[in-house]
């Protein structure tokens, strides 16, 4: 398999899952068994409440609008991934561009919201995601033909030694993790002891 193809697939896979799970998080609004997620409804209610718009209809409408855009965005990524897996790279690139464009539009909207609601940390977070999306597109499109080399990896003596070392360290780490877990798991429910004083 070509190195370029592996990297392109990694980029598509990451963003497809990113948006797929973001949409799922909107569909599952609360905490459930096997899903914690983030309560965006509560967040939007607080944001709009801080603006003086206490009626939940505003937060609901805004969340529905954003979620719809995210859903559309996810479909674009999904189509890009499916076309990529079918070997239709040109078509995949077109869908990926549409997806990236929708994503940066979404993060631009989020950033405007962060400014309005005065959440500077989220502004930084969304600004960074926006930058990474643009950079992902640049990397996806311009991974040059020099990266189109076939992955040449011979299972020689060096690789066998590496695998042996890896298995050895993993076994050591696993023993340590299980040992630490058995010693500290009781702290989950153990009462805290006070230290002495006057």
């Amino acid at each position: 398999m070509k190195e370029k193809k592996i990297l392109r697939f990694s980029i598509l896979f990451y963003w497809t899952f990113f948006w797929g799970l973001s949409v799922l998080d909107k569909i599952i609004p609360d905490v459930h068994h096997l899903w914690v997620g983030k309560d965006f409804f509560a967040l939007f209610i607080k944001f709009f409440g801080s603006l003086g718009l206490k009626d939940p209809i505003f937060a609901t409408l805004a969340l529905a609008f954003i979620s719809s855009l995210e859903g559309l965005n996810f479909v674009f990524y999904l189509l890009a991934s499916i076309n990529f897996l079918k070997g239709k790279e040109s078509l995949s690139q077109k869908w990926f561009f549409r997806a990236i464009f929708t994503s940066i539009t979404l993060f631009s909207l989020f950033s405007i919201g962060d400014q309005v609601f005065g959440d500077r940390f989220q502004l930084l977070e969304h600004g960074l995601f926006w930058l990474i999306l643009i950079a992902s597109w640049v990397l996806f499109k311009y991974i040059s033909s020099s990266d189109g080399k076939l992955l040449e990896f011979k299972v020689d003596k060096g690789v066998k030694i590496a695998i042996a070392i890896g298995v050895f360290i993993t076994a050591g780490a696993s023993i340590s993790i299980i040992d630490f877990s058995s010693k500290t798991f009781s702290n989950v429910s153990a009462p805290v002891e006070g230290t002495g004083g006057n």
């Binding site: 914690v36 977070e125 990896f153 299980i178 877990s181």
Partner: protein, 268 residues
């Protein structure tokens, strides 16, 4: 064994490529050490990943420690193999076997991308948006490292690390002055003010039976304990009712350390 470091002048491109390989090797090595140690020890604080994983899975309804253990072992295995392949790439690069080094580095990159992708999926499930940002940034850094590594190989850059003598002397003098000034300031501050870490504070009366205590930045829990102790001995006729900390939004960001109020009543 011919090591490329043995040459006197290394092109800047090669130095950056070494830096990339070294960074990722060290990055994963310390992550593995952190997993092996588990908790805090003398000279190692690290992060208690078991507690973090346990809390994550418990929040999703999976309370058994076996699940957190299993997830932690899978993460550790991915990190171990990423470390082994990055270190292998570094060793081959030192031996000037550039093509083999590239292949090993690529496997390390793919393992790292898989690791951060799995972590990001976990962040979505467990609702940790800050870690999602952190892992996405690392995911991107991994991709960028690969592209930078490849580009530096293709580049015809042959610039050597040579600085002329005059500039070298100037830089040395200015650096020495700045370093001396900074060190003097740091040692002086340590000598004069380190006692703030443990000294008791004076409670300032701001109202009837209300006393204010402002913490210095250096203050730790000992300051709190000593301050309460001192307050009690200085005010034997008073009985402490409540201690309130000033709500965070009322503090002037970093300009204020911790402020607390002692509410008292007269002893009968």
């Amino acid at each position: 064994m011919k090591l490329s470091f043995a040459e006197k002048k290394i092109p800047t491109n090669e130095l950056v490529r070494y830096s990339i390989l070294f960074y990722w090797s060290i990055f994963w090595l310390f992550n593995i050490v952190d997993k092996i140690i588990g908790g805090s020890l003398f000279l190692w604080v690290g992060r208690d990943r078991f507690a973090q994983f346990q809390k994550f899975f418990a929040s999703a309804g999976l309370e058994s420690p076996a699940i957190a253990n299993f997830a932690l072992i899978v993460a550790a295995a991915l990190e171990v193999f990423a470390f082994v392949f990055f270190t292998g790439a570094l060793i081959y690069y030192l031996k000037k076997k550039n093509e083999t080094s590239r292949a090993w580095f690529f496997i390390g990159i793919v393992l790292t991308l898989i690791t951060f992708t799995i972590f990001s999926i976990g962040d979505h499930i467990f609702g940790d948006r800050f870690e999602l940002l952190e892992h996405t940034l690392f995911w991107f850094l991994t991709l960028f490292s690969w592209v930078a590594f490849i580009r530096l190989d293709n580049s015809s850059e042959t610039e050597k690390m040579v600085i002329n003598k005059k500039q070298l002397i100037l830089v040395s003098v200015i650096s020495l002055m700045l370093v001396s000034t900074t060190c003097f300031s740091i040692f002086s501050y340590n000598y004069n003010f380190f006692s703030r870490r443990t000294d008791a504070l004076v409670a300032q009366q701001v109202g009837e039976n209300i006393y204010k205590v402002s913490f210095p930045f250096l203050g730790g829990s000992v300051v709190f304990e000593k301050t309460i102790d001192q307050f009690k001995s200085e005010n034997p006729t008073k009985k402490i009712n409540h201690i309130y900390t000033v709500p965070k939004p009322l503090r002037l960001k970093k300009a204020d350390g911790l402020i607390f109020y002692i509410m008292t009543e007269d002893k009968l």
